[in-house]
């Protein structure tokens, strides 16, 4: 072997274990033909013997369960067909066959027929995986095609009641061996398909000889199984018994018990799975709600209350308002001050004072005018008085009042100074100091005494 080309030191145990692994891996199931010798069946129920032919021999063991399943009693010198696996008995470094099936030699005809049918149906495609349907996990109603009195139904019921109490079973009772058994099995499969209302079907029987199992190797059964719409689990005999039915069924169980196990998976398993799913369902939804709640809460908190902004704005409005009112006051005060100042200046410029001064001046001028006029009149009056007085003083009327008269000849009123100026009859006017008289000349005399005026004294 390639593995050991290089120098690699192993312990005996290791090597032995390696060899044992190789043996068990490569000879998991072998069929061997030979003659039994050295047979020993002690109290334990296990059987020990040697299988030999002309050239070699192999140590064999058949443990209690397998030994119990064989329907004949093996004897030394008996030629047998053996099914088993190779293993290594480490303490002695011997390899041996662990037999699980043993049959006497000499059933060659049935075997040949089996092989021939198997080849034909395989060629037809009856064993194809494509035709196999899924076995429901939780069948509500299970159809069972078997003998109502066989070991198979008992085993199935035992398993079902242990695994899953609540299931409906509908047994289609058939004979499972002997003449006509195959036909019965095939029509029972059809019947259950038609009227059974089953979710899955178990078709099988307990272990037996090849002859006993033969019905399950017949074509009519294979065809019925292939036809069935309901998934079918074949459960014929014990583990070593392969039948045509096994090949064509949707699932093969080694035994009816195993079939029951397959049909009904552990309720606990399903319950656990369901619970796990339900838990995940709850958790995912609750988490989703939690996340949404957290988001909503955060966002709701982020919807800030505008009161603070309102406060700021309110303050700003108040401040502006105060400035507005103050400004109005200042403007009014300013205007008021200007008016008051100007009015006061105006009042100081009242014309009353000017008027008073003007009135005074006017009064003075009037007075001066009056005085001047009065003086003027007085002066004139004085002049007139003086002249008039002097006139009176030199008035010629004083001479007349001394007795002189002035004579005028009429009508010419010429002053008469000489007698010659008059003739009798002339009309004369005499003027006295006071008054006058009209006279007529009687006579005119010349040269009387003339009067001479005395010298004038100063």
């Amino acid at each position: 072997m390639e593995l050991f080309k290089e120098r690699r030191v192993l312990t005996v145990s290791a090597l032995t274990a390696l060899v044992r692994g190789l043996l068990e891996e490569n000879f998991e199931q072998v069929w061997v033909e030979g003659e039994i010798s050295n047979l020993a069946c002690p109290q334990s129920g296990h059987c020990y013997f040697t299988l030999k032919d002309a050239g070699a021999q192999i140590r064999c063991v058949m443990f209690r369960n397998a030994a119990r399943s064989i329907k004949f009693t093996p004897k030394d010198g008996m030629r047998v067909l053996l099914r088993g696996r190779l293993t290594l008995f480490e303490p002695r470094g011997e390899y041996q066959l662990v037999a699980d099936y043993l049959e006497p030699q000499g059933i060659g005809g049935l075997q040949l027929a089996f092989i021939q049918l198997k080849e034909r149906l395989a060629k037809e495609g009856l064993f194809s995986e494509l035709h196999k349907s899924e076995i429901p996990k939780l069948p509500r109603k299970i159809g069972i095609v078997t003998s109502p009195t066989g070991a198979a139904i008992r085993d199935i019921l035992t398993v079902l009641s242990r695994r899953f109490a609540n299931v409906e079973l509908l047994i289609a009772p058939v004979r499972v061996q002997g003449e006509g058994a195959a036909i019965e099995i095939a029509s029972a499969i059809d019947d259950l398909n038609r009227v059974g209302n089953v979710d899955v079907m178990i078709v099988g029987r307990g272990g037996g000889s090849l002859e006993d199992l033969w019905a399950f190797n017949e074509e009519v059964v294979a065809r019925a199984i292939h036809r069935s719409a309901v998934p079918i689990i074949s459960a014929v005999g014990h583990e070593i018994d392969f039948t045509i039915a096994d090949f064509v069924s949707d699932l093969r169980a080694a035994t009816p018990s195993a079939a029951a196990e397959l049909v009904v998976r552990s309720k606990d398993e399903l319950t656990a799975e369901l619970e796990a799913l339900a838990h995940r369902l709850d958790v995912s939804q609750l988490r989703r709600l939690e996340r949404a709640r957290a988001l909503v809460t955060a966002l709701a908190r982020a919807v800030t209350d505008p009161s603070r902004i309102l406060g700021h704005l309110s303050q700003r409005v108040d401040s502006l308002d105060a400035r507005l009112v103050r400004e109005a006051g200042l403007i009014l005060d300013d205007a008021s001050e200007r008016i008051v100042t100007l009015s006061a200046r105006l009042a100081r410029q009242s014309p009353a004072l000017t008027l008073e001064r003007s009135a005074e001046r006017l009064a003075t001028l009037s007075l001066r005018m009056d005085h001047a006029m009065i003086r003027r009149l007085a002066c004139a009056s004085e002049s007139v008085g003086l002249a008039s007085g002097t006139l009176n003083a030199v008035s010629p009327l004083a001479t007349l009042s001394r007795g002189y008269s002035i004579v005028r000849k009429l009508p010419e009123r010429s002053v008469v100074r000489h007698n010659s100026q008059v003739a009798p009859g002339d009309r004369l006017e005499l003027r006295f100091a006071s008054g006058s008289a009209l006279c007529t000349v009687d006579a005119s005399r010349g040269e009387s005494e003339s009067l001479t005026a005395p010298p004038r004294s100063v």
């Binding site: 006029m373 004139a380 002249a387």
Partner: protein, 75 residues
């Protein structure tokens, strides 16, 4: 002599008085001069009286009733 001015009349009066005071005049002339002087003197007196009355009146008017007879109406 209606349009005679006061001052002319006063002058003539004074001239008459001077002529009369000169004594050179005949009685008759001096009488005539005197008569003239009397006339002038009377004229002057009359003028003076008129002036005085007028002045009195004006003063009275002015001081009395500026308001009753508006000044402007006389214009």
């Amino acid at each position: 002599m209606a349009v005679e001015k006061f001052e002319t009349a006063l002058k003539k009066l004074e001239d008459v008085v001077k002529k009369l005071e000169g004594g050179e005049l005949s009685l008759d002339d001096s009488l005539k001069a005197f008569e003239e002087g009397v006339k002038y003197s009377a004229f002057c007196s009359k003028k003076l009286n008129e002036a005085e009355r007028k002045v009195e009146l004006l003063i009275k008017q002015r001081d009395g009733s500026f308001t009753t007879r508006p000044f402007e109406e006389e214009e």
